[in-house]
Amino acid sequence: MEMFDCNVCLGLPYAPSVPPDAYIEKAEDLLDRMAFCGINQALVRHIAMEEESPVVGNQLLIREIASFDRLEPSWAILPPQTGELGTPDELVARMKTDGVRALWAFPSKHHYLLTGTTFGGLFEIMIQRRIPLFVSAKERSNGIEGFAMIEALLRDFPKLVLVATDHGCWGEDRLFRPLIERYEHFYIDTSRYELAGGIRDFCDRYGPHRMLFGTGFPEIPMGGAFLTLLHAEISDQAKAAVFGGNLQRLLREVRL
């Protein structure tokens, strides 16, 4: 079974929220840690993409993981109006060159509105090319946060492939399940889905194709989400879909 983690970050943050030793700076060390836990592959971002700037971090990530084909790169977006990452077409052209098939939005730290006014042009291109957008459910934009922010985005762009990561562990099914039912291109990751019986209950109701395996490393240890999914009470086929099949399909469908 391919265990493909959709939620991993490389690099050292300037203000660690867990003991500093928990963070990993080098790609080879990340691969070691993944092997230690039994994870084969990861969609990776670099902390500099969020904490410094996508202008720096996107390229830093490519340099860091270029020689490791088990690490799949993802980039952060910025409003096209300031031109820092070029026009949407230029961004997509660079994604093609560097083999990037997924994008992240960090509206809180990057100080922009995650709305159609800002990103309409880019999102239309992402929809056409089926490029998935990853956004943490902890983010905030336009005065709203979490799933309220995500729903506002999905209402305007229902065909955007959108993956919400890091939903809290303190009970968010009542928040995200309505969005799963309404928006067919909406996915959640499993990094904080600690709910007893949660994966089984979710998959019984919605099938296994709306959930992606993610660990939330390095703030969260890899082992928790891993063992939870490995022994979730769902079929092996369903498990394979959540563990890697769904993410592989999403990335395969991207046309650059």
């Binding site: 867990v18 003991p19 030793d21 928990a22 070691d32 092997a35 230690f36 836990c37 039994g38 562990c169 303190w170 009970g171 099914d173 009542r174 904080r192 600690e194 709910l195 007893a196 019986g197 949660g198 089984r200 209950d201 490393f217 390095p218 703030e219 969260i220 240890p221 890899m222 082992g223 928790g224 989400a225 891993f226 063992l227 939870t228 490995l230 022994h231 009470e233």
Partner: protein
């Protein structure tokens, strides 16, 4: 590099380990306000416990946190029905001192309970407040165990306040539920400095690197496993313990041995069941 832990291999293959019959020292029961639970009945919880090799769980019902008079008897019924799998904490609410006094007096008659449960952050009464006095004095006199909800920097149950209580009531065994979540160093220090204070891991396990700091700072003999089930699945916490950079000896201490010692001291028979 593969995880060399024999326990990790066994859990990975079977979801449980015969040599490691887990005891969950922090459970609940029944529905609660802000969360949807797919598995909050005793039967649904046992099904999940079986899949993860959890031999026993010690719970306070959510109802008891809201209304002790309805909730504590509800938990007694669960223990009476499944005595091999459940034990309970007798929940107290200091906002109703007369009621609390009656419930403390009634405690010795109860079967299946292994201590008190305090939820100071939710009841909005500081653990050092006089209203907790009668319960703490009773616990001191009877050398009882208390599971206290503890949270970093809380004005009600932060680790600094737990330290005051531990100093005043040295005979009380204090389980710091959630290990003073977020204020890790302070909580670890209290567990290190006070012989009867333990770090209980519910939710704390998901802070990467913290299990290692606890083992180094307080020692694995001062740590206990818990899940808040039906909130969290045991496999999540177990997975975090298995991938932490500690030894299998530490893992056995955390996942069952320390709890076995505490429960045996309180009359729980753990001999015949092989887990």
């Amino acid at each position: 590099m593969r995880n060399p832990s024999a326990l990790a291999k066994e859990f990975r293959k079977y979801g449980k380990a015969a040599s490691c019959p887990i005891i969950d020292m922090h459970g609940h029961f029944g529905p609660y306000q802000g969360i949807y639970f797919p598995a909050d009945t005793a039967e649904a919880m046992m099904r999940i416990m079986d899949r993860a090799g959890v031999r026993m769980i010690v719970c306070s019902s959510h109802t008891a946190l809201v209304d002790t008079r309805r909730g504590n008897p509800e938990m007694a019924e669960v223990v009476a029905k499944y005595p091999d799998r459940f034990r309970a904490y007798w929940a107290l609410n200091p906002n109703y001192p007369d009621r609390m006094k009656e419930e403390i007096e009634a405690y010795p008659e109860q079967k299946g309970f292994v201590g008190f449960k305090f939820l100071s952050d939710y009841h909005k009464v500081a653990i050092t407040d006089d209203r907790y006095g009668p319960a703490l004095e009773f616990a001191q006199e009877h050398r009882m165990m208390i599971l206290m909800h503890t949270w970093g920097n809380s004005p009600y149950d932060g680790p600094a306040l737990i330290e005051e209580v531990a100093k005043r009531y040295p005979e009380v065994t204090i389980l710091m539920g959630h290990s003073g979540y977020g204020e890790w160093d302070r909580a670890i220090g209290v567990a290190r400095d006070y012989p009867k204070v333990y770090l209980e891991l519910t939710a704390a396990y998901h802070a990467n690197g913290v299990i290692e700091e606890m083992v180094q700072g307080a020692g694995s003999h001062k740590m206990l496993f818990g899940t808040d089930m039906p909130w969290f699945t045991p496999h999540y916490g177990i997975g975090c313990v298995l991938c932490a950079a500690i030894t299998d000896e530490d893992r056995h201490n955390i996942l069952h041995r320390n709890a076995e010692t505490l429960l045996r001291l309180r009359g729980v028979n753990l001999e015949e069941d092989d887990g």
